[in-house]
C-alpha cells in the first residue's frame, strides 16, 4: 500500500520539478487528447453531451503564467484545428489568443495568488470572456445572433473541466527550496 500511495507523491514531485517547456507540451497533449475525443459522437444514455472548449481552458491557464511564444503557437494550432469543422478560419484561434491575452493581463494587473477569491473568479471570468468571443465571432460570421444555450452549456462544461485540469496549465516551475523561476 505504501508503494501505491507513494505514486501520487512521485508524480507531484516530478511535476513540481518539471521544466516549463515540458509542462507546456504535457498541457498541449492533454488539450489535443480531449479535443480529439470531442470529435467523436458523445452521448450519455442517448442525451448528447456538451463538450468543453478545452483550447480556451488552456488559454486561461497558460495566460496566468504570463505571455509566452510557445503557448501562443499551440493556441493558434488548436484554434485552426477547431476551425476545420465549420467556423471561419481564424475565429477560434482569435478567441483562444484573446482569452490568453486577457488572462495574462488580469494576472499581471491583480495579485491573484494572494487573493483566493480572485484566484477563483479569474477562470470564471476568463472562460466567459472566451466563450463570449466565440459566440460573437460565430454571430458575426453567420450574419445573425447564434443560439446562446449551447454556448452556455459548453461554457459550464469548460469551467468544470478547467477546474479539474487547470494545474496542468501552470507553467511556472518551482525549484526545490522555494522561489519561482521563469
Amino acid at each position: 500500500m505504501n508503494g501505491l500511495s507513494a505514486i501520487p507523491d512521485w508524480f507531484a514531485l516530478r511535476w513540481a520539478n518539471a521544466r516549463p517547456r515540458s509542462r507546456l507540451v504535457i498541457g498541449a497533449l492533454v488539450v489535443a487528447l480531449i479535443g480529439l475525443i470531442g470529435l467523436t459522437p458523445k452521448s450519455f444514455f442517448g442525451v448528447p453531451l456538451a463538450w468543453p472548449y478545452v483550447g480556451l481552458s488552456a488559454a486561461g491557464g497558460w495566460g496566468r503564467s504570463g505571455r509566452g511564444f510557445g503557448p501562443m503557437v499551440f493556441l493558434l494550432l488548436f484554434g485552426f484545428a477547431q476551425d476545420a469543422s465549420q467556423a471561419p478560419w481564424g475565429s477560434h484561434a482569435l478567441a483562444n489568443l484573446l482569452t490568453y491575452g486577457f488572462s495574462a493581463m488580469v494576472t499581471q494587473m491583480a495579485d491573484t495568488e494572494r487573493t483566493p477569491l480572485l484566484s477563483f473568479a479569474l477562470p470564471v471570468v476568463t472562460l466567459f470572456f472566451g466563450i463570449a468571443l466565440v459566440w460573437l465571432t460565430a454571430s458575426i460570421s453567420s450574419g445573425h445572433l447564434v443560439r446562446i444555450t449551447p454556448m452556455l452549456t459548453a461554457y459550464f462544461a469548460t469551467l468544470v473541466v478547467h477546474m479539474l485540469i487547470s494545474p496542468l496549465f501552470n507553467l511556472r516551475a518551482r525549484r526545490v527550496g522555494g522561489g519561482v523561476s521563469v
Binding site: 517547456r21 505571455r67 484545428a81 478560419w89 521563469v182
Partner: protein, 286 residues
C-alpha cells in the same frame, strides 16, 4: 518560459510583439474570408482538414478488436437500406393500388390467390431428386402437391410430395425441374431447368429474337404449374444453344420458404356449365 518582461523579449521584437501581430493576422484572415471568391479558395483546405480530423477519429483499436466498429458500420448500412426500402415500399403500395384500379377498369382476371404457408427448411434430402428440400409444413397445414415455393428473392421450387407435417420441394436448380419462363423486357418464352453449376439453363428458345443481357427472367405462367410473374433470376450469358440464368433465390436465405398455391385453370369441357334441359327445349321450340 519567455515572458513579456523577460530578457528574451527585449532581445527579440518578434516575440515581444508576436501576440499583437498574431491578433492582427487573425483579424485580417477573418476579414479576407468575407470575400466569396477567397472563401471558395479556402473551402478545399477546410475539406482536406476535416477529412484528416475524421481519419484520426476513426474506430479505435479496441473497437476494431471487439468488432464494435464493424457492427456499428453494419447497423448504419442496414439503417440506410431500410430507409431506401421504405421509399420502395411506399412506391409499391401506390403502384399496387393503381394496378388494382386498372384491372378493375379492364375487367381483368388477375392471378388467383389462396392460402399461403411459411415453412422452415429442415433438411436437404437425397430423395429421387438431386436437388430437393424438406419443409416442415404438410397436408395438416394446408399444403398440397403442386404448391410453389418462394423465398425473399425469388422462386425456389415446387412441392412434389406432401406428408402430414412435411413436404418435399423440388428446387428449380434440379436437372429434372422444368419451369416455363419469359424475359421481362423481351417477352420471349422458354423452358428453364437446373444446370450442374447451380445456374438455370433456358431451352426451347424461340427461333426469332434473343434474351437481353442481364434481363430479368420471370415465370410465364404457361402450363399452370407456376403463376405468372414470379422472379426466377436474370440472364447471365448466352451461347449458341442455351441461355444461362443466375437464380435469384440463391442470393437470399433458404432457411424459410413461402409455400403458395397455384390455381390450375381447368379446360371448359372438364367443367361445363350445367343448364336446364327443359329451358333449352323451350328455347328451341320458340
Amino acid at each position: 518560459m519567455p515572458r513579456s518582461s523577460g530578457k528574451g523579449y527585449r532581445q527579440r521584437p518578434l516575440r515581444r510583439y508576436g501576440f499583437f501581430i498574431a491578433i492582427a493576422g487573425l483579424l485580417a484572415l477573418l476579414l479576407l474570408q468575407t470575400s466569396p471568391r477567397l472563401s471558395e479558395g479556402v473551402e478545399p483546405i477546410r475539406t482536406a482538414a476535416s477529412d484528416q480530423l475524421f481519419h484520426v477519429t476513426r474506430p479505435s483499436l479496441i473497437d476494431r478488436i471487439s468488432g464494435a466498429s464493424a457492427k456499428e458500420r453494419r447497423i448504419l448500412e442496414l439503417e440506410a437500406r431500410v430507409r431506401e426500402l421504405a421509399q420502395y415500399k411506399a412506391l409499391a403500395l401506390t403502384m399496387a393500388e393503381r394496378l388494382e384500379v386498372y384491372e378493375e377498369i379492364l375487367n381483368m382476371q388477375g392471378e388467383p390467390g389462396g392460402a399461403e404457408v411459411t415453412a422452415r427448411i429442415m433438411a436437404e434430402t437425397d430423395g429421387p431428386f438431386a436437388e430437393a428440400l424438406l419443409a416442415n409444413a404438410g397436408a395438416t397445414n394446408g399444403v398440397q402437391e403442386g404448391y410453389y415455393a418462394e423465398n425473399d428473392r425469388g422462386l425456389v421450387g415446387r412441392v412434389v410430395q406432401v406428408g402430414n407435417r412435411s413436404s418435399r420441394i423440388l428446387k428449380v436448380t434440379d436437372f429434372n425441374s422444368r419451369v416455363p419462363v419469359m424475359g421481362e423486357s423481351s417477352g420471349l418464352r422458354a423452358i428453364m431447368f437446373g444446370g450442374r453449376d447451380g445456374m438455370g439453363r433456358l431451352i426451347d428458345l424461340p427461333e426469332q429474337g434473343q434474351f437481353l443481357p442481364n434481363e430479368r427472367i420471370l415465370t410465364s405462367g404457361e402450363g399452370g404449374m407456376f403463376p405468372r410473374g414470379v422472379v426466377v433470376g436474370h440472364v447471365r450469358g448466352e451461347t449458341d444453344k442455351e441461355v444461362r440464368v443466375d437464380l435469384s433465390m440463391l442470393t437470399g436465405q433458404l432457411s424459410y420458404v413461402r409455400l403458395k398455391p397455384t390455381i390450375t385453370i381447368t379446360a371448359p369441357e372438364e367443367s361445363p356449365v350445367e343448364t336446364d334441359l327443359a329451358e333449352l327445349s323451350e328455347e328451341d321450340g320458340s
